[in-house]
């Protein structure tokens, strides 16, 4: 309950901005108090709006219109000086934009045959090591990894076997990028499949099926030895996998939680504390969770192989902000507790979560 209990974190709604279009993704511009909203205008074109937080309101600095509606975006693969935005649109195009000169993209490729549902970037923003790369997951069932220095062809392509009927890929995330060689991509599909691809060995490292379509996956940190992975799905369930110990047959240990009856659209870990994450739901609610590690993170099974032990998840706070699903969520990497969320009621909200220091 959203009681004003003295020690619980509170979710304070700071600013609310009504938009005249459907917003699919919202992102903070790193090292600033500015945020981007990406979406689809009523006439079927794409919109990028740049807002700046001024006291209790958002000021629109810039509006950029593009021919196709935009589904998702990331700053993950760009340097802090350039801060180029990579976007995936409804037509399967991957573009990288310089927001100071947005008429012509810095990089552009028609990466997929159908809408790009999800995008992630790694290697930029001074986080992690190795080449900057972007991964896109599409309804055409493929997951592709791109290097902005190489035009037209992806550096990795995860596609269905010949003759296999495809499943929509709904979400992608980078992880394990703790040195120049290591990197993994995790992809979630609409039939409940979760697949972990190792880019160093170019192979499938692990897969599992959680029965319900996977809406969002995220590692708690991209740039460390993979620690935890949260996967959210339809029908209100999410799973937290302990990624430190992989058992040869059982894979990774997990704990699952059913938060609410509706779809959990997004999960985002707090950049300043990797054990706290927020999930956003189809009923317009946000839940703030904390993961607690078990006493021993791994144990030996009957044959002597190591297997992981999952911990537990506790609910810190929840709040309902809207009647429509909250489809996008982003924490500010610069101010602890500041986050932005976009909902299908055409509203973007800036929220502040308090007392995170006391957790």
């Amino acid at each position: 309950s959203a009681a004003a209990g003295p020690e619980r974190p509170q979710v304070v709604s700071h600013v609310q901005q009504t938009l005249s279009y459907t917003v699919f993704d919202c992102k903070w511009v790193p090292r600033s108090a500015r945020l981007l909203c990406l979406g689809s205008a009523a006439r079927g074109t794409g919109l990028i709006q740049l807002y700046e937080l001024h006291g209790a309101r958002l000021e629109l600095l810039r509006e950029i219109e593009k021919p196709k509606p935009i589904k998702c975006g990331t700053f993950g693969a760009t340097s802090l000086q350039q801060r180029y935005l990579a976007t995936g649109d409804f037509d399967g195009n991957l573009n990288i934009w310089n927001l100071e000169a947005p008429e012509i993209p810095v990089y552009s490729v028609k990466g997929h045959k159908e809408i790009i549902n999800s995008i992630d970037g790694v290697g930029g923003l001074g986080i992690g090591e190795g080449a900057p790369e972007i991964v896109t997951g599409s309804r055409d069932g493929t997951v592709k990894v791109w290097d902005p220095r190489q035009n037209d062809t992806p550096v990795a392509n995860m596609e269905p076997v010949q003759g296999e009927s495809k499943r929509d890929c709904w979400t992608v995330a980078f992880g394990n990028a703790y040195n120049q060689e290591e990197r993994v991509v995790c992809a979630g599909y609409d039939n409940g499949d979760i697949k972990l691809f190792d880019l160093k060995t170019m192979s499938l490292r692990w897969e599992t099926n959680i029965k319900n379509g996977v809406c969002s996956v995220e590692f708690d940190r991209k740039d460390i030895n993979m620690n935890k992975l949260v996967a959210t799905s339809l029908e209100g369930k999410f799973h937290v996998f302990d990624m430190r110990t992989q058992h040869p047959t059982k894979g990774f240990a997990s704990v699952s939680e059913k938060a609410q009856k509706s779809t959990i659209w997004q999960v985002r870990h707090l950049p300043q504390n990797r054990d706290i994450f927020m999930t956003s739901g189809g009923s317009g609610s946000l839940h703030l969770w904390k993961y607690e590690y078990p006493a021993q993170r791994s144990k030996k099974d009957s044959e002597g192989s190591e297997m992981g032990v999952a911990g537990s998840v506790s609910l810190l706070q929840n709040v309902t902000l809207s009647t429509q699903p909250i489809s996008s969520l982003d924490w500010s990497p610069d101010k602890k507790g500041l986050c932005v969320c976009g909902a299908f009621d055409q509203t973007v909200r800036v929220l502040i979560v308090t007392k995170l220091n006391k957790i």
Partner: protein, 424 residues
């Protein structure tokens, strides 16, 4: 006839009358005493005492004390004056009665007033209580709101402060380069430390330093650090493809699309059907072991059908049905045989029975259902019941819209129907 109590004694002062009434052993309760302004009565059956008072008294304040076999009245006079006697001397019978009635009426009125007054006070109290609780709740709510508001303001202030800090950070950019080159080494070192320690992202304190050195295109230090980093970047990966398989399912639909309940039912039914063996096996004892297996018999029947031995196939299916009458495919195949043998009614019967057993309709038994509809449709048409036949063909098309043969046949039947309608 009541017994009058007459041995009363009284004395008076200017303002009050004191009356003492011995009770001759009777027990008195407040209910026995009735007093109004000028009329006093004590009635303890069979005893009775009655007095029309000399002058009116204040009956609300007057008291009666019961005890010691005696009632002691203290009556306060309405008008301070000395009375000649306790009672009114020449009180005629009529006056008495009149007074009595008045007294009673007055008493009644008073009682009514009292109850009214009580009701009103009760309501007042209730309302007061309600208001009081509302106020308390309001206060509580306000307190919570205030707490929230304070939080909000604190947080907004912190946000502004953070923003302004960043603006100041920009201002510091223009400070002479000497200072910057100093700081340039520090953030690089810091970044290295972060990676080796794999600690959490630094708190705001250290991030400020990072802000100063890495933001913006001004200041040579930032370009410097970027160049360093670029040299360290590995080349783009060698292009490779990873092939994936998706999780197979008994039914090729994801959980959200599946009609799991129906599919489970269908599977269950099939399993049941396979297990069943009709118990009436007395006549079948002389059959070989394999001939008692419905599946084996079905295969035998299929083979005979393929070679054109329709009668033999029917026999095989008949035996199989006797062993297990819940397998839809037996009826389906027997229907095909009957069609070939031109036993049209039997064909219709068997197709219908097959369709009955093929419920609930799920993707798994689609093929079987299509065949059943087609066979029944054919039988109807051969019996010249074209409308029924068309119904079955259309049902088959609904399940399998892409089948060209069924479409063609359906068209033919439609034409036939139109032809017969035109000619009739």
């Amino acid at each position: 006839m009541p017994v009058w109590l007459r041995e009363h004694s009284w004395r008076q002062t200017l303002t009050a009358v004191y009356l003492s009434l011995p009770l001759r052993g009777a027990r008195a309760t407040p209910a026995n005493i009735f007093c109004s302004e000028q009329y006093l009565k004590v009635s303890i059956p069979p005893f009775l005492f009655e007095a029309i008072l000399y002058a009116p008294v204040d009956d609300t304040n007057s008291t009666a004390k019961i005890g010691n076999g005696n009632i002691f009245f203290t009556l306060y006079k309405k008008e301070p004056a000395m009375w000649d006697s306790l009672t009114l001397a020449n009180a005629g019978k009529k006056k008495l009665q009149h007074l009595r009635e008045n007294a009673v009426l007055k008493a009644q009125e008073k009682a009514k007033e009292e109850t009214e007054a009580k009701k009103i006070t009760k309501q007042e109290h209730k309302r007061y209580a309600l208001e009081a609780t509302m106020k308390l709740e309001e206060a509580e709510r306000k307190r919570i709101e205030d707490l929230k508001e304070k939080e909000r303001q604190k947080v907004a202030k912190e946000l502004e402060f953070w923003k302004n800090q960043r603006k100041d950070a920009d201002k510091y950019k223009s400070i002479p380069k000497k200072r910057e080159s100093h700081q340039e080494i520090e953030p690089l070192k810091e970044r290295k430390n972060e990676k080796t320690n794999k600690t959490r992202i630094p708190n705001e304190g250290t991030s400020k330093i990072r802000l100063k050195s890495t933001k913006g295109r001004h200041g040579s230090c930032s370009i410097f650090s970027q160049n360093l980093k670029e040299e360290q970047l590995p080349p783009p990966r060698a292009v490779a493809t990873i092939k994936v398989n998706f999780t197979p399912r008994v039914f090729p639909t994801a959980l959200r699309e599946s009609r799991v309940a129906e599919e489970e039912e269908w599977l269950h039914k099939q399993a049941e059907a396979r297990r069943r063996i009709n118990s009436d096996l007395s006549e079948l004892e002389d059959l070989k072991e394999e001939e008692k297996n419905p599946d084996w018999l079905k295969d035998k029947g299929n083979k005979m059908f393929a070679t054109g031995n329709y009668l033999g196939a029917v026999n095989a299916y008949n035996l199989a049905v006797r062993l297990n009458d819940k397998l839809p495919l037996l009826y389906l195949n027997r229907a095909a045989c009957h069609l070939k043998l031109r036993n049209l009614h039997k064909a219709i019967e068997d197709s219908s029975k097959a369709l009955e057993l093929l419920t609930p309709p799920v993707p798994d038994n689609e093929n079987a259902r299509v065949k059943a509809h087609v066979r029944r449709g054919t039988a109807f048409c051969q019996l010249e019941l074209y409308t029924e036949g068309l119904q079955d063909y259309e049902a088959a098309l609904k399940i399998d819209p892409k089948n060209k043969n069924i479409e063609k046949d359906a068209e033919k039947i439609r034409h036939l129907i139109q032809g017969t309608m035109q000619s009739s």
